[in-house]
């Protein structure tokens, strides 16, 4: 079971690097959605005896992260003229190098962390850390509001992976609440993105620098 899970985690880490390298916003949303679907499959391969609760969490995650959230983001950017990240604050190559370096560092330091015996053979924790780092790089390094929203969601994906450590302990109500909150947050973010596009006629957050001392 750990073997299948590690395979999925490796794919998720690979998608992190793809998201750091791609400049087209549509591609970024697609990569993020794919990562969401892979995350949704993880609870299914973690346990031998398939519990209905795990199936429900998996279904909700695939539906939420893989379909609803990307749909909301695409709706938010339908009025945009450009669909490319043209001048990021942190360039594509530097952010890719940062992300790769961070992934290697996370894999190297996992043995330093005190983990339960059943989690030591898995790359769960390094994958979570690498994904959180990727989210931060996108959040800080990209100028377009949509890219930053994707960064926020990849950050949340990383936290979700970490949350899988608690899969058996976390009551399903809490899991559902978390997913609902994240979906609503994307809903509100997409409305604000839409407003930014309408008022500034651009998705570039460089316009959002009026308020300062």
């Amino acid at each position: 079971m750990n073997h299948n899970l590690n395979l999925l985690l490796d794919v998720a880490m690979g998608l992190n690097l793809v998201s750091l390298a791609c400049s087209r916003l549509q591609t970024l949303i697609r990569v993020m959605a794919l990562q969401g679907v892979i995350l949704g499959l993880m609870p299914l391969v973690m346990e031998h005896d398939l519990d209905w609760r795990f199936a429900l969490i998996a279904l909700a995650t695939v539906f939420g992260k893989g379909m609803v959230i990307p749909l909301l983001l695409r709706r938010a950017m339908r009025k945009a003229h450009t669909d490319r990240e043209l001048e990021p604050f942190i360039g594509f190559v530097p952010s890719l190098l940062l992300g790769a370096g961070g992934t290697i560092a996370a894999l190297a330091m996992v043995n330093q962390l005190p983990l339960l015996p059943e989690h030591t053979g898995s790359v769960l924790v390094p994958a979570a850390l690498a994904t959180i780092l990727t989210g931060f790089i996108l959040l800080i390094g990209r100028a377009k509001a949509i890219s930053q929203a994707c960064g926020y969601l990849i950050l949340e994906n990383g936290i979700y992976v970490f949350g899988l450590l608690l899969l058996k302990a976390m009551p399903i109500l809490v899991e559902a609440g978390v997913l609902l909150d994240i979906t609503v947050s994307v809903f509100i973010i997409s409305i604000v993105v839409d407003r930014i596009q309408t008022v500034f006629d651009s998705l570039d957050t460089r316009h959002l620098t009026t308020l300062r001392e």
Binding site: I159, V174, I196, H207, L208
Partner: protein, 480 residues
């Protein structure tokens, strides 16, 4: 049951507001829910229900110590909000009223949360529901403020989710079953895995500290408070921050039970004093009187955090300060909102002689300024005095010196901005909506009432409240 009703009633009100057809009558829902909510809170305060230990939500001693002030603040704000939305009837208010009632419901949930996961969900929901209210004016500045609020606040709240998971893993790793109720976590106490507790503490402090507006995670606060309508500022500064502060207190109790009190208190003291210092310095620099209130709020969150670091006596004083700060800050935000509308600008470069144009609001604003900068005999003076006393009793002489120095700087910063806008000859009238500004009872009585309550709290701190704060401290520091 009544404690659940406290959450459900505003949520139902929020749904009704979303469906209500008339823009003119919809704002009446704000005071209606305000009255019902505060009556229910009053009944819970004087007749507290039995809290089942394992319950995820409950009106426990800590909720009893802080929830009444949030309810009271909302009640008074709701009347101001009703008048404000009547005056601003050119703006659609469906989203505003719906969001405001949702915020009230979710705050009631956050303050009563006895489960780390539920606490997170409620805090996140409050954050999200407050977003559209900041955006009420719909102009470029308010969009910028909303975006920064959502990105910074969202990231902070994401880190607190990670911290929540880490605390759960601390329980699993220590041989527990990963039960995330505060009662269970405190019972496991020293059995929690130490390294994971430390990681969780840092993440949760940063996460909920962002909501609280502690420096250096405060960057969203001046923008949001500066651009949002007055009652939104008042509710964010007096209500939402209270949710984040009780979250930190509850987590701090778990870290304390795990035997890491000393480190937790050092973290709180350092970040609290740093916030006070940053806020004091920015108060000396800003030229916008609504942003002054935001920096003042950052300073007061620093004061609360310092109080939380000083053991049982400090926490009791901090709970007192939650009350005095919420009431006083509410009066300040509303009177500043009046001055802002009378003047047509929030910058001290353009506004002069407001004592002529809005005399009552200015009187409340100036009195509020003295109150909030801890002049006797208002509430904040006495609560801050107790924090200083707790500091001396705990042997934190240097920290108290820094604390008092920051208060002095903040006072200078406040007077630097407030007196120029109050005094002098009125500059030429900047008209915004073509309507002449009139100081009606609906926008003067609410801030005046809050100011009087702050005075009352300072002069006659009721014994029943003191007992409520002591009971909350007993819950947070068992056996001591």
């Amino acid at each position: 049951m009544r404690s659940i009703l406290l959450i459900l009633m505003p949520i139902v009100g929020s749904v009704v507001a979303a469906l209500w057809p008339s823009n003119r009558t919809r704002p009446a829902l704000l005071p209606i829910i305000g009255i019902l909510h505060s009556l229910l809170t009053l009944s819970l305060f004087f007749d507290p229900p039995n809290v089942v230990l394992e319950d995820w939500l409950g009106f426990d001693a800590l909720a009893r110590a802080v929830l009444p002030v949030v309810s009271l603040l909302y009640l008074i704000c709701s009347f101001y909000g009703f008048t404000y939305l009547q005056v601003r009837d050119e703006r659609p208010n469906r989203v505003f009223v719906t969001s405001m009632l949702a915020v009230v419901g979710m705050m009631s949930a956050g303050l009563q949360a006895r489960h780390l996961g539920i606490l997170w969900i409620a805090t996140e929901a409050v954050t999200l529901a407050a977003g559209p209210m900041i955006h009420f004016n719909g102009n470029a500045r308010s969009i910028e403020a909303t975006w920064k609020y959502l990105v910074v606040g969202g990231t902070g709240i994401a880190l607190s989710l990670l911290g929540t998971f880490c605390l759960g893993y601390a329980s699993l790793h220590g041989g527990g079953d990963g039960n995330l109720t505060f009662v269970a976590l405190m019972q496991q106490g020293a059995g929690l895995s130490h390294s994971w507790v430390f990681i969780a503490w840092v993440l949760l402090l940063v996460g909920y500290g962002t909501k609280l507006g502690l420096a250096p995670m405060h960057t969203w606060k001046p923008d949001a408070y500066g651009e949002a309508p007055a009652i939104v500022g008042a509710m964010l500064a007096g209500g939402v921050t209270t949710v984040a502060f009780t979250a930190i207190l509850r987590v701090r109790a778990v870290v304390g039970a795990a035997g890491a009190s000393a480190i937790a208190d050092q973290c709180l003291l350092a970040i609290g004093l740093f916030s006070m210092l940053v806020a004091a310095l920015f108060l000396l620099a800003t030229r916008d009187y609504k942003r002054v209130l935001a920096y003042s709020s950052i300073e007061h969150m620093g004061i609360l955090t310092v109080g939380a670091a000083l053991g049982p006596a400090g926490v009791a004083a901090a709970l007192f300060h939650v009350w005095s700060n919420s009431l006083t800050k509410g009066a300040m935000f509303m009177s500043a909102g009046n001055i802002r509308r009378a003047a047509g600008s929030a910058s001290m470069d353009e506004v002069r002689g407001m004592v002529v144009r809005a005399p009552y609001s200015v009187a409340i604003f100036v009195a509020g300024m003295f109150a909030v900068t801890a002049s006797p005999p208002f509430g904040p003076f006495f609560s801050e005095l107790r924090i200083v006393r707790a500091g001396f009793a705990g042997g934190h002489g240097t920290a108290v010196a820094v604390f008092l120095g920051c208060l002095l700087l903040a006072f200078l910063g406040f007077t630097r901005v407030v007196f120029p806008i109050v005094d002098g000859r009125p500059s030429k009238i900047v008209k915004e909506s073509g309507k002449r500004f009139v100081e009606t009872a609906g926008i003067i009585i609410p801030p005046l009432l809050l100011l009087c309550l702050s005075l009352w709290l300072g002069l006659f701190t009721p014994t029943v409240l003191q007992d409520a704060w002591s009971a909350a401290v007993a819950q947070l520091f068992p056996k001591s």
